[in-house]
C-alpha cells in the first residue's frame, strides 16, 4: 500500500516538475511547482518529519510561491513566445542526463548501514517531531538560527530598496 502511494506521489512529483520546465505560461509553471512542493511535503510526512512537511507547505507553497505568482501577475509577463533553440535543448538535456547519471550513481551506491543518531521512528512518534526539532534548533544550532534572522532582515531591506521605482 505504501509502495503504491510512494509511486503515485513520485509520478505526480516528476510530471509536475517536467511541467514546470515545459509550460509556456509562467503561471502554469508556478502552479506545477506548487504541486511538486506538495508532493515533497507528502514525502516528508512519509519520512516521519511532519514539522518539515508543515514548514514546506507554509514557506514554499505558501510564502515563496505566492510571492512569485504576485510578481508574475504584477509584471504582466506575456507567454514566453520567443522560439527555443533546438540545439540548446539537446545540449541541456544531455547535461541533465549526465547530472542524473552522476547523482543516481552516487546516491544509489550510498548505504546507511547503522543509524548513528538517537532519533528512531518510535522516539519521534513518542516525543513529537516538533519538540525534537525545536530542541536541536535552540540548543545545538542556536547561533546559526540567530544569524538566519539577520539574513532575513538584510533580505527585507534589500528587497525594499531594489524594488523601488528608480535604482
Amino acid at each position: 500500500m505504501e509502495t503504491l502511494f510512494f509511486l503515485i506521489i513520485s509520478f505526480v512529483a516528476i510530471i509536475s516538475a517536467i511541467l514546470v520546465v515545459t509550460c509556456k505560461n509562467p503561471i502554469n509553471s508556478a502552479l506545477s511547482l506548487i504541486m511538486t512542493f506538495f508532493c515533497l511535503a507528502t514525502y516528508y510526512v512519509m519520512l516521519d518529519a511532519p514539522f518539515m512537511a508543515a514548514v514546506q507547505v507554509m514557506v514554499y507553497a505558501g510564502a515563496i510561491m505566492v510571492l512569485m505568482v504576485f510578481t508574475i501577475m504584477l509584471l504582466n509577463i506575456r507567454v514566453d513566445a520567443s522560439k527555443k533553440h533546438s540545439h540548446k535543448i539537446v545540449f541541456s538535456s544531455i547535461i541533465g542526463f549526465f547530472t542524473f547519471v552522476n547523482l543516481a550513481y552516487v546516491l544509489f551506491k550510498s548505504r546507511v548501514a547503522v543509524p548513528t543518531g538517537p532519533y528512531s521512528a518510535d522516539m519521534i512518534k513518542q516525543v513529537g517531531h516538533t519538540e525534537l526539532i525545536g530542541k536541536e534548533m535552540f540548543t545545538n544550532f542556536l547561533l546559526p538560527f540567530e544569524i538566519t534572522s539577520i539574513l532575513l532582515l538584510v533580505a527585507i531591506v534589500g528587497a525594499v530598496i531594489l524594488a523601488k521605482k528608480k535604482i
Binding site: 541541456s92 547535461i95 547519471v101
Partner: protein
Amino acid sequence: MFDNVWLIPLFPLIGFLINGLFGKKIKNEAIIGGIGTLMIFLSFLVSCGILMQMIGLPPEQRVFEKVVFPWIHSGHFKADMAFLVDPLSVVMIMVVTGVGSLIHLYSIGYMHGEEGFYRFFAYLNLFCMSMLLLVLGSNMLVMFIGWEGVGLCSYLLIGYYFHKKSAGDAAKKAFVMNRIGDFGFLIGLFTLYWWLGSNHNIWTVNFMEIKAASHLLPYGGVVTVATLCFFLGATGKSAQIPLFTWLPDAMEGPTPVSALIHAATMVTAGVYMIGRMSFVFIKSPDTMMVIAVVGAATALFAATIGTAQNDIKRVLAYSTVSQLGYMFLAMGVGAFSAGIFHLMTHAFFKACLFLGSGSVIHSMHHALHKVHSHDDAQDMRNMGGLRKAMPITFITFLVSTIAISGIPGFSGFFSKDEILWQSFSNPYHGNLNIVLWGFGAAAACLTAFYMFRLVFMTFFGECRINPGAKSYLHESPLVITIPLMVLGTLAAFGGYLGMPKLMGLLPNYFEHWLDPVFELSTEYGSTYAQHGDHLSHGLEWGLMGLSVLIAIIGIGIAFTMYVQNTKLPGKFVATFPALHRAVYNKWYVDELYDYLFVNPCKAFGQFLWKGFDVLIVDGVVNGVANTVMGFSGIFRYLQSGYIYNYAFSMALGVVVMLGYFIFK
C-alpha cells in the same frame, strides 16, 4: 639700491603677466603699450640708480650678490636665485633696459593696428625679463634660465606672424640652432662643475665662487673641453659660424624684434657669457684661438654676404652677424672690455639702424598698401630717394651708418678700432695676429661698403617706388622717431666713453670701469703670453689711419657704384656671374647644411618612420593586437554575454568534473 636689484627683472615680468593674461581683454593699445613700456622703463630707472651708486663706490667694492631666495640645495649642489651686480652686469642691464625701453616705445607706433598687439608686448616683456635674468644671474643655472628664456622669446617673436609659413620655419630654425648651442652650454656647465667638484671638492656653479677657485683650473685640458662647449653655446645664441644661419631668417619677425633681440641684446648673450667667464676661457689658449678665428672668419664671411642682399633687413642681419664676429674676435684676443664696449656701441647703432629700417618699411608698407601694390616693402630695389620724405629717419640712419663704418668721431670707430688694434697687438696668438687683423680690416671695408650701399640705395638716387605710391610716403610719427633720435645721438657720441688711451683726450672710462672684472683674466693670460717687441704708438696711429682709410675706400666704392655710376653693379654681376650668384645665395651655406645635416636627418627620420616605426614597432604592436583579435574571434563565442550560456558552461564543468571523480 643694490638690494633692489631683484626689481629689475620683476617689472618686465609683471608687465608680461598683465599683458599676457589680460591683454586680450584690455584691447586698448595705448594701455597695453603703456604698461609694457612703463615696466621696462621702471627697470631702466632702477638700473640707473644702481649705476649711480656703483660709480660712487671704489672699484674694489663694486661686486654685490643679492640672494633673492634659496632655490636648489641638494647635497653638494647649491644654486640660489641670486643676482650678481658688478660693473659688467651693470653695463648689460643699462643696455638692455635702455635700448629695450626705447624699442618698446617704438613698438607702440610700429605695431599699431597689428593683430595680437598685446601678445607682442607680452612676449617683449618676457624677453626683457629673461635677458635681465641672463645678465644678472649670479650662477650658471640662473643664467641658463635666462639663456633658455630668451631663446624661447626669440622663437615666439620670430614666429609672431605665425600664419606665414616662412615665419614659422624661421622660428623653428632659430629654435633648433639655439638648442644645439644650449646643449653645448649645458655640457660645458656640467664639465666645469664636475671637474672642480671631483678634483678639488668645490661643488659650485656660482660665478664668484668659480672665480675664486679659478687658480685651481689647469691651462688647457679639461678647461679647453668645457670652454669649447660653452663657446658652442655662444655660437648658437650669437649666430657665429657654424650656427649663424638662423639669424638672417629671423628677420621674419617684426622689425622692433629684430632690433631688440636679433641685434642689440639677445645675440650678444654669447659675448656676455664669455666675458662673464673670461677667467675660465683665458685659461685655455686653444679655445681663445678658436674664438678669435671663428669671430674673425664670421666677421668677414657675413660681411661678404651682406654686400649682395637686396632685402634691407637681411643686409642688417648679416651686418649684425659680422659685428658679432668682431666682438668674438675681441674676446678671442683677450680684449674683453673692447668686446663689451663694441657690444654696447653696436647695440646703439644697430638698434638705430634696425628701427630706422623699420620706419622705412612702415612708411613703404603704408604707401604701397594705399595703391594696392604688392611690391615688397623691404626690397631696396623698390626704394630710393627717401631722404626727402623721411628726413629724421634719414639723418639718424646716416649717423648710425657712419658709426658702424668706423669713421672717426662716431662710436663705432672707437670700439672697432680698439678691437682691430688689440687683434694686431695681443700677445696670445703670435703670427696669427696679422691674419686676424687682416680679416677684421677686410670686414671693416666690406662693412663700410654694404652699409653705404644700403644708405645710397634707400635714401639717395631716384625714387623707384611704384609711382602712384610716391606721394603717400611720409615721415613716421613721433613715437617712432623719438627712439630713433635718442639712439642716433647715442650712436654718435656713445663712443667717447671708451676713447683709446692713445688719443689722450679723455681717459678710457669704459676700460677702467670693467678693469676689476677682467683683471684676473689678464693676469692668467700673462702666464703664457708671448712678450714680443713693444709696439710703438706710431704703429698704432698708423693702423688706425689705415682702418679709417679702408672704411673710406669702402664708402667710396659704394658711392661710385650706387650713386655716380649706377650701371656698374650690373656690369659687375655680368662679369662675375658665378661669384655674384654664390654671394647672393649666401655662399650656399643653407644648402650645404641641408645637404650635410638636414637631409640626412630627414632621411634618417623617414627611415625610422617608414622603416622602423611603421614596419617594426607598429608591426609588433599591430601583430600582437591582430593575434589577440584572431584568438578572441574564436574565444568570444565562449563569452557570449548571455547568462544562460555561462550557466550552461558552469553546469557542463560541474558535470564533467563530478563524472571524472565518480567514475575514475
